[in-house]
Symmetry: C2
DNA sequence: CAGGCGGCTTGATCTTGGTCAAGGGTAAGC
DNA sequence: GCTTACCCTTGACCAAGATCAAGCCGCCTG
């Protein structure tokens, strides 16, 4: 993975270094399958550049003019909305292979902040070029629509979580979702480092950080997981799923 | 407005009666502005038929195969997700000029139920035809993307409401949002009939029906609104907005 | 017109999660 | 290596909203 970068001797401007989509191991997450070589080349040409974002920096902020969407190559992000009175709502956590910035299409302004929770790199997908290309490449168009739609469905899931679940159910759902997405990327399902703080988890789940902390402790007491700061091991996936289905009290 | 229909003497099968988009007074809500006559004709051709839905019936249900999205001509809908254990989360209320069904694009299956809360009529927009046409008509493509994106942003708003607001703030936000959307359709801003039950409002807002009822009563005591069953008058819009900004206790 | 039902309101009580506070661990910076 | 700052945990207490319960209103149906 990091072979490429550690072996390089000659200094290269990585911003200009082109890692073609056609070569990217995240391809199946970002692009439709079944594109012809020629079509893939055109996609490669569209994604002209990449951008590195340091931990803590914003990829974009609410109010920025919308020009592109972003495919995450490496790193981990949160998106959030800040209310006038300062309250924060984290609307999602995004990892490699996922797409950021679609909130801006509707108004040509970004409506939320996207912040790197660890050093990250994204592919910049200029949206007008994407629209143009997807008018010509039908599978690309279809894929874009699917990505947009899945975001809507994902949001419905979060609404359901916030509207109907109690604290421990929410955290169980959160851990299981994270685990599942890591598996899809080839990582271990049961052991991982959280990139976000308890407060950010709490904001996402509609809970206070103390409640998140207590729920972690409770899960640990019950033998469902082990917690050491941000290092989580899931010991009993089935048990976590039961927490989810155990509705009410 | 209703001149057209009241003046018709000859009985006509309204299912076959074509009310062209080009003639529809909701056009500016469904379609981009600036289409040429020729383009509008092609859109008219695409939207082949309409469908009436009786109060209480579903336009589509979770699990149905996805084939079309729907533009509401008349009536009022709710969309909801039912969890395995029976819990319901209402994900939105939709009125004339709004678009339903975009949750199905991602998986080719609808992921929620769309239920008419009053007798309704929708325009059926076959999605493959819409994709095809939007590959040719750039403003149509752009518009579709904006509609999808705005749905995402709307969902973020609901997530914020569910994640950070207390009961009375939620209800105030709900009433103001409803009022604003009615105004955009030429209705009175301050007086309207709720089409949904307290329980459905509660599900949408992540509250129990009793809490919704109490919040209504509280607003009435405070002189912000009058409530008679489902008939609402907003007496003090500014006051409701203050409830929203008054954060915490 | 009577009866029944669905939906709404209101009160009393309980529970979950929020709030406030103290203390400890870890990692980054001097 | 020490200090500092951030993050996390845990406890005690509190309050918002859920739950349980009773009764009412208005509408639909027979």
């Amino acid at each position: 993975m990091s072979n490429e970068s550690t072996q390089k001797i000659i200094p290269i401007d990585t911003h200009k270094l082109k890692v073609a989509c056609s070569q990217c191991n995240l391809r199946e997450l970002c692009l439709p399958i079944g594109l012809s070589d020629q079509e893939l080349t055109r996609v490669d040409d569209m994604i002209g550049s990449r951008r590195k974002i340091k931990r803590g920096q914003n990829l974009y902020s609410a109010g920025d003019t919308f020009e592109a969407i972003y495919a995450i190559r490496t790193g981990f992000f949160k998106t959030d909305v800040i209310l006038e009175d300062g309250r924060e709502q984290v609307t999602g956590f995004q990892m490699a292979g996922e797409v950021l910035g679609m909130d801006g299409i509707g108004t040509d302004l970004h409506t939320c902040n996207a912040t790197a929770l660890e050093d990250a790199e994204v592919c910049i997908i200029p949206f007008d070029q994407l629209e143009s290309l997807s008018r010509e490449i039908e599978p690309l168009q279809r894929h874009l629509h699917k990505v947009l739609s899945r975001e809507i469905v994902r949001d419905h899931g979060v609404m359901t979580l916030l509207g109907t679940m109690r604290a421990e159910e929410r955290l169980a759902a959160f851990l299981l979702n994270l685990s599942q997405r890591l598996v899809a990327r080839g990582y271990a399902a049961t052991e991982f480092h959280l990139r976000m703080t308890r407060e950010e988890i709490g904001s996402y789940l509609g809970l206070k950080l103390e409640t998140v902390s207590r729920a972690f402790s409770r899960f640990q007491e019950d033998g469902l997981i082990t917690v050491q700061q941000k290092h989580i091991c899931i010991l009993d996936t089935a048990g976590l799923k039961q927490v989810l289905n155990h509705q009410a009290c």
